[in-house]
Subunit: 402 residues, 2 copies
């Protein structure tokens, strides 16, 4: 069976076109009351409305109907990678999220500081949610651990959370979590499910033994558990599968890491949307494909802040003219998932999507919002197919078969 990328590898055609994928994180929403308007429909978005009139709209299904994705699968889908095929382990995502430059042979682990009693039983799985300053210092101590045959990196994330990375040849990531998910029991023993992972499990045990000695006087954080032990999945690059030189303009480490994972160059922009637009303009001639990430529609949604999310959508709308002024052959605005303020969480609702290009089939969309997108020309589609539409509308795909 030919998969998406077998197809794009075979059909890719190069030209001078430019494609912008603007991801407004958690864009999709819900009305607060039946019959009401969503965040996107409530927002005043004259620029995006005009784009909807010039282009086509539709609804993106991030993974499968009803499934709410995390940031990882949400973005992989938009990048054209089947999120059910390419799974990213928790440890890897955590490492990407702190901008750790993870190599293809590295094993990444999410760590949680915990408290054990005199008999080695866990009494607090989060070590009393220690302050970040304390967590940071403990990580610096653990970073001194040396294990023959591998490099060891220990990095602090936040409060009781940390990342451990083992770098070396022949490591494996198929190892169970040591967090038993309850108190009153000892941590689980790490066990590898194949030969490389067994060797790596030995390294985990050695690390935990040394850590226990180092942390013995640091109660409540006198040990740690390990979760989501994983290697980077082998992912073909954007350049290889689509033939595009791709750049990411994202502020938050997680999204920069996800972009790096698929082989995008990660550009350095300032923290504001205006900075991101400046970065886009300055790098316009150096790339074919630009991933622009806007975080705040998700964070306001997570906070349950309906009007805050509306404002952030309006901020994004105000930045649109700087993107259209560059005359990209294809401009897409969508989200990696919905984050309705009403739910204060990622949801499985489909995501409003907009695509503007010369060869669009006009679909009568009058504005950009869920009700309009529901009947747009792009239909309801799985997110992983959006890149096909982008490449097709940019003239970057040959005909399939004769």
């Amino acid at each position: 069976m030919t998969d998406i990328h077998d197809l794009t590898r075979r059909l890719q055609r190069s030209n001078d076109s430019k494609i912008i994928l603007c991801v407004s994180d958690g864009l999709g929403g819900l009305p607060l009351t039946p019959g009401g308007q969503t965040e996107l429909e409530t927002a005043q978005t004259p620029n995006m409305d005009q784009l909807a009139q010039r282009g086509v709209t539709g609804m993106s299904i991030p993974v499968l109907p009803g499934i709410a994705p995390g940031s990882g699968p949400g973005h992989l889908g938009l990048f054209g990678y089947d999120p059910l095929q390419f799974e990213i382990g928790r440890g890897v995502l955590e490492a990407l999220g702190i901008d750790f430059d993870l190599g293809p042979d590295d094993v990444a682990i999410r760590g949680n500081f915990c408290t054990i009693d005199g008999e080695g039983l866990i009494t607090d799985r989060r070590a009393g949610r220690i302050a970040s300053e304390i967590g940071k210092k403990l990580c610096e101590k653990l970073d001194a651990i040396e294990i023959p045959g591998v490099e060891v990196f220990v990095r602090h994330v936040k409060e009781y959370r940390l990342v451990i990375v083992f770098r070396g040849k022949g490591l494996g990531g198929h190892i169970n979590d040591t967090d038993p998910q309850r108190t009153g029991v000892p941590p689980l023993e790490p066990q590898g499910r194949d030969e490389a992972s067994s060797r790596t499990a030995d390294i985990c045990r050695e690390f935990l033994t040394q850590a226990q000695t180092i942390l013995q006087d640091d109660a409540p954080a006198n040990l740690l558990t390990m979760r989501g032990i994983a290697k980077r999945p082998p992912i073909p690059t954007f350049e290889e599968v689509y033939g595009t030189r791709a750049a990411a303009i994202a502020v938050y480490p997680m999204y920069r890491g996800l972009a790096r994972l698929v082989g995008m160059d990660v550009l350095d922009a300032g923290a504001t949307l205006a900075d991101q637009m400046t970065c886009l303009e300055e790098n316009w001639n150096s790339y074919d494909f630009f991933f622009v990430h806007f975080k705040y529609t998700d964070s306001t949604g997570e906070d349950g802040n309906f009007s805050g999310k509306v404002e952030k959508i309006e901020d994004l709308d105000a930045a649109v003219p700087r993107m259209t002024a560059l005359n990209p052959e294809v401009l897409m605005i969508t989200g990696d998932h919905s984050t309705p303020a009403k739910m204060r969480a990622h949801s499985g609702h489909p995501v409003p999507t907009l695509l503007v290009a010369e060869q669009c089939r006009f679909d009568g969309s009058t504005s950009f919002g869920e009700s309009v997108c529901r009947v747009g020309e792009l239909g309801q589609f799985e997110a992983k197919y959006l890149m096909l539409q982008a490449l097709a509308h940019a003239g970057r795909l040959d005909k399939y078969g004769a």
Copy 2:
């Protein structure tokens, strides 16, 4: 995972119903200006509009979103065969396109006459685009080539293009092209990727050696290259998977060949739509399923002739009453892909589709056009599922499971 045909084999139920699948090649279009109407929407189509009011509409995705198919995958999809699973090699399509009756064991090759210099380097990959009369004569000379163990057929296509077929037992079609895709180098050696293909590559070499002797005084066409070396894919027949006796009424060889590939009887009709309708009427009692192919909506689209395509659509509309007069249980009108005059090429836009049957769920469609089909009852669906709808609406499918 149960595939479509595993399902239809299990569920097929026979009855006296008649199904017509009318394929207007390249039917889907684009407005010339944003907000305008497509070719189909511009055309006056009172008969198809009435059908839309009696039936249901939708949008067919030929392969995957955005992917523009050639005629082969476009039609296989409509016939209910996954076009990504059943791939048809270039040589096979070329042989079908000249009405060559290809057997299941035959290896078909697309040949290009070329020019080589005294050192055997290619100086022109198309032999100066020799006239068809010359190409035809050279093919007759090559048709005399004899190779022990196989029958050899050489047929002219057009100008510098030809088809070579080897017929024999145990041949293989996994052989590289000998066309190096550039000049100044010799043709590539044919190499087989498995045992049967290696034997067949030997036959290719023997053919090319003899051809070089025969053509030595025929510059600029003093050799040929081979491309798309392939066997017919094993394809289950319409009768086996759907339980229908199927007939094709198509004028152009390519479409007759595609119909033959899935086991349809290919009927002989005159060249006009009226002739095709007469053929349909005359054979009405002999078959359950009729594939009627109308070419000219594609060719006018390829020519960039918007108003010409509109006229051809109106011609098709005028033929509709002869189809409805036969009272088929299911009548479908669709295209194998879009060929917008604006693009002068096959495109990946979804294709307007109409299905009329007694058990249709009325969807309020008022006419047959892209804007209406976008919100019709059939939704946006992959073309390979249309046959399921046809069989279901013809009462030819049992319930799945108890």
